[in-house]
């Protein structure tokens, strides 16, 4: 939490701000999704309310809030209310543990006649040493929201959606976890920050005892684990229940799947949960395979000293550096979020048996093979030097 009042206060504010950041990105993503899908399908999309249809988001929010509250009379009331919250929390918790930028170093300063010692604030809601395991564990709890939503609605379409969702999530979790083992083996850590700091500088690795440096490529994970990156990317689509794996809410067969009976703000919370999962997935892709918040060939220390040279105090320079690299992180994040949307409006939906075949018979063996090959190569290269 922190050692004194200032640190505790900042840490609490940070938690709320990052949660709000996640929630506030959702309407923007909905707008991008609607405009993007219109662009892909040669339509206009929402373009009447405000510039580029941007205030449509506000109108949507007002509609969600003021919609009549509807509960099916035979539903299990408590679980019916709890399910949207249960699907929102895992995404928010997982997103909070991913570092969004460099830590901010605050120098000692005077306030209220007292010296407040130097601080170091991580640019994330909370730091956990085994971040990767934590994120995987927390996001695997997302299945409960859908399961309880489907069951509490007492509706056949809902329960079919819920069963499909949970079966799909459990099946793809195995391939997801195994596709990450390769990158964990290479960097030898579960800590996001350590993994990101390993990905700085030009591409350099040990090849049979001699160091190979490729100066024009960044030292990103994707160059070591291309197959792992591809597998993670595919399984992420299944974990977030997005097209082409959106069978839990396949509207042609199941009306709307597990959230058939939901409307208004409760429905909105399912949306936030889904987009939250998308953000976590994109953030994981960025962190593991695309250098996290680092800009290739730009050293954060250089930026920091350049800012200090231009007359900013050490604290201010640290804050500005962190914000700069935060923008870099978000540029990468939005690239993946756009690919999520792009794929949804490009590929058709899988059939259920195709989905299960892909998960168990293709992704899982490939992920296992990737793990084995990586382990052997890492062991050989380390024992050579």
């Amino acid at each position: 939490m922190g050692s004194d009042a200032f640190e505790i206060a900042i840490n609490l504010v940070k938690m709320i701000v990052i949660f709000l950041l996640m929630v506030q990105l959702v309407p923007l993503l909905v707008w991008i999704e609607r405009r993007g899908s219109a662009f892909i399908q040669n339509r206009f999309g929402p373009n009447r309310v405000g510039p580029l249809g941007l205030t449509q988001l506000l109108a949507d929010a007002v509609k969600f809030i003021f919609k009549e509250e509807f509960i099916p009379s035979r539903s299990r009331k408590f679980l019916f209310y709890a399910a949207p919250v249960m699907s929102l929390i895992p995404g928010a918790l997982a997103f909070g543990s991913i570092p969004l930028s460099l830590p901010i170093n605050v120098e000692a300063f005077e306030m209220f006649g007292q010296t407040w010692g130097p601080y170091r604030f991580a640019f994330q809601s909370f730091e956990i040493g085994v971040g990767i395991v934590f994120v995987l564990g927390i996001s695997s709890l997302g299945a409960y929201g859908m399961l309880t939503a489907g069951w509490a609605s007492v509706n056949k379409y809902s329960i079919f959606g819920a069963l499909r969702a949970s079966a799909q999530m459990i099946s793809y979790e195995l391939a997801l976890g195994l596709s990450l083992v390769g990158i964990i083996l290479i960097y030898g850590t579960f800590d996001f920050s350590v993994m990101i700091s390993e990905q700085t500088g030009p591409l350099s690795f040990m090849w049979f005892g001699s160091e190979v440096v490729i100066p024009f490529l960044p030292n990103w994970g994707i160059f070591y684990q291309p197959l792992g990156a591809l597998l993670l990317f595919i399984t992420m689509f299944a974990e977030t229940n997005r097209a082409p794996f959106d069978l839990p809410e396949a509207e042609a067969e199941l009306v709307a799947g597990y959230h058939t009976e939901y409307g208004g703000l409760k429905m909105n919370m399912f949306y936030i949960g889904e987009y939250g999962h998308m953000m976590v997935a994109s953030a994981l892709m960025t962190t593991f395979y695309f250098g996290g918040y680092h800009l290739p060939f730009v050293d954060p220390d250089t930026v920091n000293t350049a800012l200090m040279y231009n007359g900013y105090s050490a604290t201010m320079a640290s804050v500005l550096t962190a914000l700069t690299f935060h923008l870099v992180f978000f540029a990468k994040l939005f690239l993946f979020l756009w690919i999520f949307i792009w794929v949804r409006w490009t590929l058709p939906r899988f059939r259920y048996d195709q989905l299960m075949d892909l998960g168990w018979k293709k992704l899982l063996p490939w992920a296992l093979a990737n793990t084995m090959v990586t382990a052997v190569v890492v062991f050989l290269m380390r024992s050579w030097s």
Partner: protein, 173 residues
């Protein structure tokens, strides 16, 4: 120190309450959901006890996969008959009493046998399992036999489950 102590008691109380609720609820689906809550709170207890890797694995394996499967399978069935069968009857009554006695015996045995080998908490955690690396080294050197035996046991369970589901002519084995 005070806050962590307070958190410990809150979490411990939550675990016990949820575990009691697992047994007390008459609807098996509510039981399964309470079981999930027990697992999640147990995971946070592991976090508090400086064993974050075990906590994460607890979340992934038990809360995220095993109990989800329980819940999912129970939602597939119409459980009214089973509920009635479990609510009364001589045979189930015998099973209830027997399992209560079994549990009491286990607790008594555990207390009796562990009273001599109590290690102070900080020592037990920090020396062996604080980091994931140490945990792995312990697991794959000192306890390799138990680890492999557990793996074989799980394999046996999987094979047994498949063979049982085939006996009655199931089509989905």
């Amino acid at each position: 120190m005070l806050t962590s102590g307070l958190l410990f008691y809150i979490l411990a109380a939550a675990i016990v309450l949820f575990a009691i609720a697992v047994v007390m609820s008459s609807n098996p689906i509510y039981s399964a959901l309470y079981l999930a809550l027990t697992m999640v709170t147990l995971a946070f207890m592991f976090f508090m006890l400086n064993a974050p890797f075990i906590a994460g694995v607890q979340l992934i394996v038990y809360a995220g996969a095993v109990v989800v499967l329980f819940t999912m399978v129970m939602m597939l069935f119409d459980l009214k008959k089973e509920q009635e069968a479990f609510a009364r009857g001589k045979f189930t009554g015998f099973i209830k009493i027997a399992s209560a006695g079994w549990l009491c015996g286990l607790i008594a045995g555990a207390v009796y046998m562990s009273s001599e080998m109590i290690v102070s908490g900080s020592k037990a955690v920090s020396e062996n399992t604080a980091t994931t690396k140490n945990l792995a080294i312990e697991l794959f050197t000192n306890y390799i036999l138990a680890f492999e035996a557990l793996g074989i046991l799980l394999l046996l369970i999987a094979v047994g489950a498949v063979s049982i589901s085939r006996i009655k002519g199931g089509t989905h084995a």
